[in-house]
């Protein structure tokens, strides 16, 4: 399984905090995952691959080319504004 988390404005736009997807080795990159999310979740289109969206895998920021493994936790979030 892949656990997918959404935060802040992205969480609100999608109306959900998280999603769980069966792991599929065929599309096991961020880009592949986004294609699956866009076909399964309404409202995703254009949000998850937006240039400013940040992607983290297992709590480390990654690029869109990052390969995924079964059990990974993937998070999509907007630019941060803490401090």
């Amino acid at each position: 399984m892949l656990r997918v988390l959404f935060f802040a404005s992205i969480r609100e736009r999608l109306g959900r905090r998280e999603a769980a997807l069966a792991f599929d080795a065929a599309g096991a990159t961020i880009t592949g995952l986004v294609a699956r999310l866009e076909s399964e979740l309404p409202g995703c289109s254009g949000v998850l691959l937006a240039e400013k969206t940040i992607v983290a895998v297992n709590r480390e920021v990654v690029t869109r080319a990052q390969a995924l493994r079964d059990g990974d936790e993937v998070a999509f979030y907007p630019p941060v504004t803490g401090g």
């Binding site: 802040a8 404005s9 979030y77 630019p79 941060v80 803490g82 401090g83």
Partner: protein
Amino acid sequence: MRAEVEVREADFSVHEEYARLRGEPGGTGACVLFTGLVRDWTGAGSALALELEHYPGMTESSIAAIVDEARARWRLGAVRVIHRVGRLAPGEQIVLVGVSSAHRGDAFAACEFIMDYLKTRAPIWKKEIGAADARWVESRGSDAHAAERWRDSKTKEETT
């Protein structure tokens, strides 16, 4: 041992944190503490609150990594970072960064470095709650620039 980095709803006491940073008499010659507060962003008294959301686990690990980077650049004693989350009213404390060192130069620099990196790396988001509406705060280019300028700054070895 108490964690250096804490993300929590509860407020903090600068007095208590300062006492811990000072530690026992001896090697500490300087303490720098920074606190960030909730401003009234409207300038008209109509700001109700900030709501701070974060990514539990990653917030702590990303700030801990920033503290590690600071320790690699400067000679530091104690370091303490507290970031509050949840709903905070104007005037409340949001964040504390405290650094102790033998000398002020390292403490000043490390405190600012940690704050600049925290603002651009830690997964925390602010939402402004006003009387009539609520909106997510946009990230600012000036924050990215502030973090960027540390990239080529002198390392601990070069400054001593």
